[in-house]
């Protein structure tokens, strides 16, 4: 086995020993213990494993360890700063935008990515960008509401 692959996750450096072709999802969860990122299908169809790579939402089950190496990865565990929730996390909390909450990490990561590229998305743009994320509990209206709330908060801060 190779000496290991350098990975940067949430600003921390790790050396991963899993084979280079291993999907990032399993490295995060099984090797690094970052279990906030969820397995939902392993096929890129549900969005539960969404993380940010270079700030953009990616399905961590569809990107290999070697492809993620050298690019900053952010997981749900990396959003909170000094005990303060990210505005999107806070908005999900305030809107009660979850039931079983298994999809929540992926929903939040996809929404963070959206708001990075579009600070004031329309409802249709939110729907479009979350279309790949499955919520089986049917909490979609509150998730949209949470993203809108978070966008509003970010706008306020920007002023």
């Amino acid at each position: 086995m190779a000496a290991g692959i350098e990975l940067e996750v949430n600003g921390k450096r790790y050396t991963a020993s899993y084979p280079p072709e291993t999907p990032l999802l399993y490295v995060l969860r099984d090797e690094l213990g970052l279990t906030g990122t969820k397995y939902g299908c392993g096929e890129g169809s549900c969005g539960a494993c969404t993380v940010l790579i270079n700030g953009a939402a990616r399905r961590s089950c569809q990107i290999s360890l070697s492809a993620a190496a050298g690019r900053p990865v952010t997981t749900i565990e990396g959003l909170e700063k000094n005990g303060v929730l990210h505005p999107v996390q806070q908005a999900f909390l305030d809107a009660g935008a979850f039931q079983c909450a298994y999809c929540t990490s992926g929903m939040i990561m996809s929404s963070v990515s959206l708001l990075k590229s579009n600070a004031n998305p329309s409802k249709e743009q939110i729907v479009q960008s979350l279309q790949g994320n499955i919520c089986r509990c049917g909490t979609h209206p509150r998730i949209i509401e949470a993203v809108q709330k978070a966008a509003g908060k970010q706008q306020e801060h920007a002023k």
Partner: protein
């Protein structure tokens, strides 16, 4: 049918698709372990009254395990020296928010802050026996049970303080975790009062719980307990557990249902380092430090399977009809008057046949378990709705005492009736048995989920009916083949009635699904009622009202109609409006749908859903709204497009890429109207809000196109004739 008769019918409801008959055994609550964990300073109270009336019993005669609930208050409630109150219940939190509503219930009745109460749920070593988290039973059974023990506890604390101060108990107030004497201003914290052993004390003979009108903490939209854990990814679901020395398990699945192992050669796998291979009959599995290593071990095995001929989805409905078994059991049949006479008296008659496809639960957290043996003691962490049944299954299969098996349910990534069986726990425990004390985690893949879990059963429903000249139902004959008998009885007044449930041998493995067969039976009944209304030249809502006496049914229809603006004028081409309603498990629903049909593009869009729902006194309106809206959206899938494809014992669409579930784009404008009946006992709400979605949409499609859809999923776009 009267209210009492309907309640009786509900009690007879068999959750019939359970696969393993569970042995009847008595359960000795592990009190010693409980004391060890929760320490001294226990408030161990005397016998709670009326406990026998509160026993939750599983459906009769189906091999379900029933036990007496513990009678001591201490089994349900613990007041610590630091004032922390701990409640215990065997229910599992699966996203329905029961952890929050039970916390509210105890805080409200005991008179303590919400934040000072925590719930221990679904742990067979710590919580009282529970048949399972299903059937919308948690709120109607466990909520009053916890109220009773909290009320008795509060009264004993009051009594204790009264004796200490030598003042009449009626002069004292129990609130905010302390007993106060307003006259003198002195007070004692519950924690101080509870320090003394009250075991010998008897609770007062009469001890009513607070009526909903006096609730201060229950009835409020309190946010979900542990909500922060969920938005930070900190919550540990079963799939996230990583005990030291853990191995990962994988099971070798047969190529098709019912296939048997006829050749097995493990010579290439035997010498792999750090790998445990287990073959036990047709079960083959591996455990290794990583999933990849376990998969590799299974891949190098040489095996051969013998497959069986199987029914396919193309022939399922004719199969179900042909293979219906003569029931001869009265509990499957209800009769009243004479359907023949009712049909003879009818001015209009209608016969129709409806079908319902198999669908999958597809909970986003797949079935998973972590199992660890210590000698002949087994601990299993598992996302299940029936921890005690899983415990019993494991004890039976591994020939150990039930007290040696502990099943713990971490708050789970949803279930919808799909996590009743012990499969993943059984598999993990079997592998762990061979792993020398190391824990084994086993997580089903999505494909395994879609293939080896069980389904909501398919069904055929036939209805024969007559309407008299005055628009009253004169005859109603309703046959459900295979899918189930939940809500098979109509809520409508009809003198001549026959309803019958026909059992059929299983084709695909089938089981409970949110609402059971109530969704299928409501689809058939409410579609049929719509067709009858048109035959009788009456407005569909007016026709229902004309045949309804039940005030709660009428109330939800009226509330929904008002919000929806029924009857509505069509303003655009292709618009259609539909209504459907029903009641089940003590709650009532009326759903109104607006759809839009575009013949040019061949698309059908659900534009708006309005649903009025009533489940007695609302315990948490915020959580309830989440459940109701969630059921409506989940219901869209089964209504419009979800169907399991199968042939030769294989599932044809075992992936989210080809088994379509509702996504953001499918969600219409939604309005949920929650009627709060503080004068009525709280009923469960997880299931009923899903029942009327499909027929309301199908009826709206008829309104738009004059085409009647009689199969679920509706797939309306396939019925737009040229």
């Amino acid at each position: 049918m009267s209210q009492a008769e309907r309640a009786f019918a509900i009690d007879l409801e068999p959750e019939r698709y359970e696969f393993r008959a569970v042995p009847m055994h008595q359960f000795a609550l592990g009190r010693r372990e409980f004391f060890k964990i929760f320490g001294a300073g226990l408030a161990v109270f005397a016998v709670a009254k009326d406990v026998s009336a509160m026993q939750e019993t599983a459906p009769p005669g189906r091999g379900f395990h029933n036990e007496e609930l513990p009678k001591e208050i201490g089994a349900w409630l613990h007041i610590g020296e630091d004032g922390t109150v701990t409640g215990f219940a065997g229910k599992a939190e699966i996203g329905q928010n029961i952890r929050t509503t039970l916390t509210q219930t105890i805080a409200d009745e005991l008179g303590v802050r919400f934040e000072s109460v925590r719930m221990v749920l679904a742990d067979t070593a710590l919580t009282p026996f529970d048949a399972g988290t299903f059937g919308s039973r948690s709120t109607p059974t466990i909520t009053p049970q916890l109220r009773r023990v909290s009320s008795a506890a509060r009264d004993l604390l009051l009594e204790k303080a009264a004796k200490q101060w030598n003042v009449p108990v009626t002069k004292l107030v129990a609130l905010d975790g302390k007993v106060t004497d307003p006259a003198s201003g002195r007070s004692l914290r519950y924690a101080e009062l509870a320090r003394e052993d009250l075991r010998e004390r008897q609770p007062p003979a009469q001890d009513p719980v607070k009526p909903a009108s006096e609730w201060t903490i229950a009835g409020k939209p309190i946010p979900k307990v542990d909500a922060r854990e969920f938005v930070t990814g900190a919550h540990r679901y079963t799939t996230d557990l990583r005990p030291d020395e853990m191995l990962r398990g994988k099971v070798l699945r047969p190529p098709s249902f019912g296939a048997t192992l006829i050749a097995y050669d493990d010579s290439a796998a035997k010498n792999l380092p750090d790998v445990v291979i287990v073959r036990d009959g047709d079960f083959v599995g591996a455990a290794a430090p990583t999933v990849a290593a376990a998969e590799h071990a299974l891949a190098v095995l040489k095996v051969q399977w013998k497959e069986l001929p199987q029914i396919s989805d193309r022939e399922i409905f004719s199969y179900l009809k042909k293979n219906a078994q003569p029931s001869g059991e009265d509990r499957f049949r209800q009769t009243k008057g004479s359907v023949a006479e009712g049909m003879a008296a009818a001015a209009k008659k209608l016969e129709a046949r409806y079908t319902v496809a198999y669908i999958a639960h597809a909970p986003l957290e797949p079935r998973a378990a972590v199992a660890q043996w210590t000698g002949d003691k087994l601990n299993v962490w598992m996302g299940t709705q029936r921890p005690f049944a899983v415990r019993d299954d494991l004890a039976a299969v591994f020939h150990v005492a039930e007290k040696n098996v502990r099943v713990i349910v971490p708050d789970t990534g949803s279930a919808y009736g799909g996590k009743h069986t012990s499969d993943a726990g059984m598999e993990a425990a079997r592998l762990a048995r061979a792993a020398g004390g190391r824990p084994v985690k086993l997580v089903w893949t999505r494909e395994e989920e879609f293939t080896w879990a069980y389904f909501r059963p398919a069904g055929v429903i036939e209805v024969k009916s007559g309407v008299a000249a005055d628009g009253k139902l004169s005859a109603w004959e309703f046959h459900n083949y295979h899918s189930g008998m939940s809500a098979i009885e109509p809520p409508y007044e009809v003198a001549n009635l026959l309803t019958e449930y026909h059992q059929v041998p299983l084709v695909l493995r089938s089981g409970s699904y949110r609402g059971l067969a109530a969704t299928a039976n409501h689809f058939a009944r409410e579609t049929h009622m719509d067709a009858l209304a048109h035959l009788a030249a009456m407005d569909p809502l007016e026709f229902r009202m004309n045949n309804l006496a039940d005030a709660r049914m009428r109330a939800v229809l009226e509330a929904g109609a008002k919000a929806f603006g029924w009857p509505r004028q069509k303003h655009t081409e292709g618009q259609g409006f539909g209504v459907a309603a029903g009641c089940e498990k003590g709650s009532y629903v009326a759903t109104f749908a607006e759809i839009s049909v575009d013949r040019k593009t061949g698309t059908v869009a659900v534009k708006k859903l309005v649903e009025a729902f009533e489940c007695g006194a609302i315990v948490n309106p915020d959580g309830l709204r989440n459940q109701v809206v969630g059921a409506m959206i989940q219901g869209l899938g089964g209504a419009l497009f979800e169907a399991i494809e199968f042939e030769k014992g294989r599932i044809g669409n075992a992936h989210f890429a080809n088994y379509r579930v509702p996504r953001f784009r499918d969600v219409p404008e939604i309005e949920a109207i929650l009627l709060d009946r503080k004068d009525l006992a709280s009923a469960g709400a997880g299931e009923t809000p899903i029942m009327a979605i499909a027929p309301s949409i199908g009826n709206a499609f008829y309104d738009a196109t004059k085409v009647r859809l009689v199969n679920l999923p509706l797939r309306p776009e396939l019925h737009l004739a040229g």
